[in-house]
């Protein structure tokens, strides 16, 4: 798919811009802090429902203004035109419109615009906390299956309820404690119902990603060692997240949920005392991890700088591949990554880009990007970002787009 036109009004450093984008590579060139990343962030937010930089939508709205608008015009692989509009207000729910129609839940907008973003922060998938790897998997899943985002939000809601109940139980004694305990089971069952869906989906995602990640890593790294992906489940090691051809039938099937539910139920029972003592849910997808190994060693603690970058990049290229398997080919967003790579890896990434429908690249130094493509200069003037498309003597005025509010 392709993003044909992007309009921003009062988003981050943009007051009003509209930019038409062609197929292939577009390079946004500008010094740091001019607003390049803000543009990719807006596209990422529209596509996935969250920004790679902040948790809530509020900070996306330009400082001092009340409402920001992100408007995307997309052309699908089949040539259909679709629109995705976001109206982001400070202190209220973001309003989303798909093809001009309001949608009630963010999940309904999932898949309209598909992106794979690679940014310097993504090295944290390899080296950071488990939460980074969970988010990586969940982002892949939310884009691969629209229903996943809904399952995730149901789970998160049930988790907040159960944690609250555990906190209440911790402070109670006697009969009021018994009364509160009497409803703990139903929340445990809610977590199991939604949690097994998420765990099964993540294991399936790992099984699907494993091959491509290994292949891309061998392409990118200096020493082509095998990459291992294992799901580390808080419900116990017998929840099998390994790519074990014997247990998975050698395929990339979604695992049975019944054994996962059983393992969760057993672990919940075993840890109930600890949970009520700490006032915290200790079992479920929110406590799980994706173990990454390079050769025999855990990537988190033992990878070199180059290995960590190669693996992070391999994970992202594999994401592109598994997303493209089901539905439209995603748009690739590369945020300031060429500067972080050595010459060899730059060349290899550039070679991969040749296979993508549309790539939006940001760079401070043009020469860092060994790619041909349209160029747009990005510059901050009077606190507002201006975009100047550079090719074919086009008028440098594509910045005053018509963004109706």
């Amino acid at each position: 798919m392709r993003l044909r036109r992007l309009e921003l009004a009062d988003i981050r450093s943009y007051d009003r811009v509209a930019v038409d984008l062609g197929p292939g590579v577009t390079i946004l060139v500008g010094q740091n802090a001019q607003g390049k990343t803000n543009l990719l962030e807006a596209v990422q937010r529209a596509a996935t429902g969250s920004s790679h930089r902040v948790a809530g939508d509020g900070p996306l709205v330009r400082f001092g203004t009340e409402i920001g608008i992100i408007r995307c015009e997309v052309v699908t692989d089949e040539g259909r035109r679709r629109t995705l509009d976001l109206e982001i207000g400070t202190g209220r729910r973001t309003r989303t419109r798909v093809d001009g129609q309001d949608v009630q839940r963010a999940a309904q907008a999932a898949g309209v615009l598909r992106v794979v973003l690679f940014a310097p922060e993504d090295v944290a998938i390899v080296r950071g906390d488990p939460s980074e790897r969970r988010r990586f998997l969940d982002d892949v899943l939310a884009q691969r299956r629209p229903a996943f985002a809904a399952a995730r939000s149901e789970h998160d809601r049930a988790l907040r309820q159960r944690n609250q109940l555990l906190k209440q139980i911790r402070g109670l004694t006697g009969s009021s404690r018994d009364a509160a305990m009497s409803s703990l089971d139903v929340w445990t069952e809610q977590l199991i119902t939604h949690g097994t869906q998420i765990i099964a989906a993540r294991i399936a995602a790992i099984r699907t990603l494993a091959g491509p990640v290994d292949r891309f890593y061998r392409d990118l790294a200096d020493r082509p060692e095998p990459i291992g992906l294992t799901y580390r489940c808080s419900a116990g090691d017998d929840v099998d997240g390994r790519l074990d051809p014997a247990s998975s039938g050698g395929s990339t099937m979604v695992p049975e949920t019944a054994p996962i539910a059983q393992a969760m139920r057993r672990t919940f029972a075993a840890r109930q005392r600890e949970e009520t003592a700490r006032g915290l849910t200790l079992v479920g997808p929110h406590r799980d991890d994706l173990d990454l190994t390079i050769g025999e060693l855990p990537a988190r603690g033992y990878s070199s700088h180059g290995e960590a970058w190669s693996l992070a990049l391999a994970l992202k290229l594999a994401t592109y591949e598994v997303l493209a398997e089901v539905g439209d080919r995603p748009i690739v967003l590369l945020d300031d990554v060429f500067a972080e790579l050595d010459t060899t890896r730059r060349q290899r990434l550039a070679a991969a880009c040749a296979g993508f429908d549309q790539v939006l690249v940001t760079a401070a130094v043009e020469a860092d990007v060994p790619l041909e493509g349209a160029k747009i200069d990005v510059e901050l003037l009077d606190g507002r970002t201006r975009l100047r498309p550079r090719d074919l003597g086009a008028p440098p005025a594509a910045t005053d787009g018509s963004v109706a509010s």
Partner: protein, 198 residues
């Protein structure tokens, strides 16, 4: 902080569901600037509703008498009870015209975040009704969200030993939503396709 009476009004408004401190302030100042008659009409409406409307002593639906219109209607089938969270769910289900039985309104759903536990719902009253009335089937029509599901599963455990048939509205309702968001056709279908809870 404002002068006594204004601050009292802001505090009271701030206690209403969905009204934050900022909105409370805005509403208070709006009321200060409106005509006396308009403000009086609002005050009267609140007083009247509190004086004349109460909850049905049998099903906890909104009633203008001891019992609500539905409980008093002898044509309704007393052998089937539909258990809902709020009076507005009764209205949503009545709109479908699919259901001829009577209701039991719980007054909410289990939600620790909102400080609502099973004891805060009209559960004991429901169990008492099963003793006193010839009920064969209970249809659990909680909202299709995690609180609704948790409440339904708590109820079905509570009711299992009593030997009454318990069914749950069929899925197909929008997940995470409220019953009164569901359109009539979907909600009607959910009724006819209800399933037994094992």
């Amino acid at each position: 902080m404002y002068e006594g009476a204004v601050q009292d009004l802001i505090d009271e408004l701030g206690r209403l569901p969905g009204v934050g401190p900022k909105s409370a302030q805005r509403i208070a100042f709006h009321l200060l600037q409106t005509e006396n008659t308009d403000a009086q009409r609002l005050a009267d409406a609140i007083t009247t509703v509190k004086a004349t409307i109460r909850f049905c002593t049998r099903c906890w639906n909104i009633a203008e008498a001891e019992e609500c219109r539905i409980c008093r209607d002898t044509r309704r089938d007393g052998s089937v009870l539909c258990v809902v969270e709020e009076p507005r769910d009764v209205v949503a289900i009545e709109r479908t015209r699919e259901f001829q039985g009577r209701y039991h309104v719980l007054g909410g759903a289990i939600s620790p975040i909102d400080g609502i536990g099973p004891d805060d719902l009209h559960l004991k009253e429901l169990v008492a009704r099963l003793d006193a009335e010839p009920v064969d089937e209970l249809i659990l029509a909680m909202n299709p969200n995690v609180e609704g599901e948790a409440t339904a599963s708590y109820l079905s455990r509570l009711l299992a030993p009593l030997g009454v048939r318990v069914t749950r509205l069929a899925s197909g309702l929008p997940v995470g939503g409220d019953l009164d968001y569901a359109d009539e056709v979907t909600l009607g279908r959910a009724f006819s396709g209800r399933r037994d809870i094992p």
